[in-house]
């Protein structure tokens, strides 16, 4: 089937959206941008195609009448098991890469102790893997680097103590290996992983034994569908790195403008706060960009700022919003400089300010900066759509709502849970449109 793909290479994450010929979104994929945009684009696209495959599974499974009310449980189990299989596959790769790295002469003094320690670490990491993907399990991140890194670090610290092997040597080996592992795309084995996930699912859900064959047949049918990459459009900071011709590249301003229009047809103003830039875009009734403004030269007040704050406070990025929401009084913070963020935070703490109040102040400071960019772009017009990673942060959203109301009155504010994919959505729409307009360039 024809697939139209938009890839948004951001500074922090790379996103992909797959669309069918009727402009329906089939799948979404996201990965960390690493230092390698080619790989990030490849991984995000691959993930979006897997997501597409799952969408097709879901449609197909609806036809399996015998599944009945087990449909949701089955799909949930299948997806989790697939993620587990993917994780295990990369873990094996990481194990082999680390073992190879440990043979480097600089580690010879640790001899076979090191080999054994590594084997011990990986054995335990693998053993714990199913728990990470168990029903209801919370993962701080969906990226292999984060999950495996955190597991490896915790377990190797314990193993190091027991085996009398230095912890830093184990960490060093991991650091050298993770980049290689992260820079490999596992496209060949996707179908095998899916089938293994299906086996696991059927074992975990013995109730389904009577319909197992029917399910298997449907899964095989879906796997037989060829997902043809009909047209790919790249956008975002890394777009120039994409191995496409110029026709396949659009600026993220255009993509975000169009993406927001697709999500909310009546959008006139778009604010996107990403990792290192803030964009304010005015679009017309067709999603065509009228004007735009971006932050200049420095990433003060962008998503990365929140990342630094989270690091400084030793909490996860997604925990910042909830902590800030507990604030009871306003603390005024003027600096949105990412580099000064830590100093500002420590200074406030030393003055005895409450942590959640400070965080609320920091969120407000970011939004104040965005408000200035918005006004430079021509103000806020109804409807207003907020996109980008920061749109998932409730404290940022709350500050934004307050300031929009204060400055522009009652404006409809749209925030889509999938807003991080706005640029990629615009890209995939451009891809579909390109083929409608230029049929001869249908193959990317």
């Amino acid at each position: 089937m024809e697939c139209y793909i938009g890839i948004d290479l951001g500074s922090t994450t790379t996103k992909a959206v797959v669309m069918d010929e009727d402009y329906n979104v089939l799948g979404r994929g996201i990965t960390n941008s690493r230092s390698n945009y080619d790989i990030a684009a490849g991984v995000a696209k691959h993930e979006a195609l897997i997501d597409t495959r799952f969408m097709l599974f879901r449609n197909a499974m609806k036809n399996v009448a015998a599944l009945g009310d087990k449909y949701e449980i089955f799909m949930d189990e299948l997806e989790r098991n697939f993620r587990l299989e993917q994780y295990l596959e990369q873990l094996i790769d990481l194990d082999e890469t680390c073992t190879k790295a440990s043979e480097n002469t600089r580690y010879t003094e640790w001899g076979s102790d090191l080999t054994e320690a590594l084997a011990g670490v990986f054995k335990r990491v693998a053993l714990e893997a199913p728990d990470l993907f168990a029903p209801g399990a919370q993962r701080k991140s969906d990226f292999f680097r984060d999950i495996a890194g955190s597991q490896y670090s915790t377990i190797s610290e314990e193993v190091a103590k027991e085996a009398d092997t230095p912890f830093d040597v184990l960490l060093n080996i991991y650091d050298r290996s993770i980049i290689d592992v992260e820079n490999r795309i596992y496209t060949e084995t996707t179908n095998q992983n899916l089938m293994r996930a299906l086996d696991r699912t059927l074992v975990n859900l013995p109730d389904l034994a009577p319909v197992a064959d029917e399910v298997r047949t449907e899964v095989q049918k879906v796997l037989g569908i060829d997902l043809e990459e009909t047209y790919v459009i790249g956008t975002g900071y890394g777009r120039a790195r994409l191995p496409f011709s110029k026709d396949h590249i659009r600026s993220e301003i255009l993509c975000h403008g169009l993406g927001a229009h697709i999500m909310y047809n009546d959008t006139r103003t778009v604010l996107d706060i990403g990792g290192q830039d803030t964009k304010a875009i005015q679009v017309d009734k067709d999603g065509i960009v009228e004007s735009f403004q971006m932050n200049d030269r420095c990433a003060a007040g962008c998503g990365r700022y929140l990342g630094y704050i989270a690091d400084e406070m030793n909490v996860g990025l997604h925990e910042l919003g909830p902590i800030a929401m507990e604030s009871t009084r306003k603390v005024r913070i003027n600096s949105t400089c990412t580099v000064f963020a830590g100093a500002e935070l420590r200074d406030r703490l030393s003055l005895g300010e409450n942590r959640s109040d400070i965080l609320a102040g920091l969120h407000r400071a970011i939004i104040l900066r965005a408000m200035s960019i918005l006004s430079r772009s021509g103000g806020v017009h109804d409807q207003f759509t907020f996109t980008g990673g920061v749109a998932n942060n409730e404290a940022a959203v709350s500050a934004l709502r307050e300031l929009i109301k204060e400055n522009y009155g009652d404006v409809t504010i749209n925030i889509d849970p999938d807003s991080i994919y706005t640029g990629a959505l615009g890209g995939s729409t451009f891809a579909r449109r390109a083929v409608e307009g230029i049929p001869t360039e249908a193959v990317a």
Partner: protein
């Protein structure tokens, strides 16, 4: 302007380019030996420069902004700016000023490596930029023996030049500027000599206007910003009124006429631009530290600048103004009063609107300079107004004059590409 850096890769080296290069080098040589030869040196600024009058007193002419940008194009300004900052100049100070002061602190070698002379006269023609005044105050501290002359040019607050304003400038020329120049140089003022120079100025101005207006052709034979800064080089600096400048412009005009006849696009550092996809009007000075890289972002996308306000800072001629040998002092006054930096926001907005219409441009781009208050104040307002009046899309980018730290290629390129694609998107829909 500097073509030295470009010469190696410029596909077609036209006669005018060689001529200009020689003129600039000769002037630096002249300046380097002026003190020992006993020739008096005047330092002055591009906007409102009264070059013909300085020539009447045999002054060698030194232009500090031009030195700064020449140093920037040769990648020397960064170190100079840091040197000035070490001595206490803030990050927000005009980077032309810091590059100039830094150059003095680092041994006062000019862009071509030759020593710069001690000035005998600081000729400040005040045409709207307050920084120029502070700049010369600082330079004066370095040269206590040097005389300062200030020509106060009233700001065109109401958007026109009145008789009073003109009379006020002429009065200062007669009562203050000319006597000061006579005293410093020891040369008696001869108004006929001034008239002779102005005959040359007029000719060169006619040819310059032809060249700049040739961009009304499709395709435009010139880039009126990146190419434009070369074209304005001689006439905005030490050469207006000289036969060398007149010859330069006659040669340049012939070259452009030939390009028009052949239907050719502008010359870029990578050869003749093939397809003209976007016609842009630009407001604001260019960035000099990454000049080539900046230009490439345009021609790679098929964008040509058809008109720019920066090429009017040293004189607005396309509205019909010419230096007038019949009324030399009055025309010097009109010249200073009419400089782009001396215009108010409504006049600048009108000018941009007119350029978009007259040159059939696709839109307006503002390159806002971090450290230039004179240019940058009010630019967003102008952008919105022009956008509204013309219905053409506008965009805003930010760089700096000569501080290499304030040019972020990825950001600028990103915005430019977005802007060009925005134009194309709008055009597609209109079609």
């Amino acid at each position: 302007m500097n073509i030295k850096d470009q010469a190696s890769t410029v596909a077609e080296k036209e006669d005018s380019m060689w001529k200009q290069k020689e003129m600039i080098n000769e002037n630096y040589e002249l300046l380097s030996t002026a003190n020992e030869r006993g020739q008096k040196v005047a330092s002055t600024f591009v906007p409102g420069n009264i070059n013909e009058l300085l020539m009447c007193f045999d002054f060698a002419r030194n232009f500090p902004e031009t030195n700064a940008l020449q140093n920037a194009m040769r990648k020397k300004s960064g170190g100079m700016i840091m040197e000035a900052e070490k001595s206490g100049h803030s990050e927000d100070v005009c980077t032309y000023v810091k590059a100039d002061l830094g150059m003095m602190m680092k041994g006062n070698k000019g862009p071509t490596g030759l020593p710069m002379p001690d000035p005998d006269l600081l000729m400040l023609s005040y045409t709207g930029c307050f920084t120029f005044m502070k700049w010369f105050e600082l330079v004066r501290e370095q040269y206590p023996q040097c005389e300062t002359a200030m020509l106060h040019v009233p700001y065109q607050a109401d958007g026109n030049i009145t008789k009073n304003m003109r009379d006020y400038v002429v009065k200062q020329l007669k009562e203050d500027i000319i006597p000061t120049m006579e005293r410093v140089s020891g040369v008696k003022f001869d108004i006929d000599r001034l008239r002779e120079y102005m005959i040359q100025s007029q000719k060169a101005e006619d040819d310059l206007v032809y060249v700049l207006q040739s961009a009304k052709n499709k395709p435009s034979p010139i880039d009126a910003y990146f190419g434009g800064v070369y074209y304005i080089g001689p006439i905005f600096t030490a050469f207006r009124g000289t036969t060398a400048a007149t010859d330069y412009y006659a040669t340049l005009r012939k070259e452009i006429e030939a390009r028009v006849a052949a239907g050719l696009g502008p010359i870029t550092p990578e050869g003749v631009m093939k397809e003209e996809k976007y016609r842009i009007v630009v407001e604001g000075p260019p960035n000099w530290t990454h000049f080539r890289e900046f230009w490439k972002m345009f021609y790679d996308e098929g964008a040509v600048v058809v008109a720019s306000t920066y090429t009017k800072v040293g004189g607005v001629y396309d509205n019909g103004f010419r230096h007038d040998p019949q009324n030399p002092l009055e025309s010097l006054a009109d010249y200073c009063l009419g400089c782009y930096t001396n215009l108010n926001l409504p006049a600048r907005t009108d000018m941009l609107e007119k350029y978009i219409e007259d040159y059939q441009a696709d839109g307006l781009l503002i390159n806002s300079i971090k450290s230039c208050n004179s240019f940058s104040a009010g630019q967003l307002l102008m952008l919105r107004e022009v956008e509204q009046r013309t219905g053409k899309p506008a965009a805003f980018i930010e760089t700096d004059l000569v501080d290499p730290r304030y040019f972020s290629p990825a950001n600028v390129k990103n915005r430019l590409e977005s802007y060009f694609q925005m134009i194309s998107q709008k055009r597609d829909r209109a079609a």
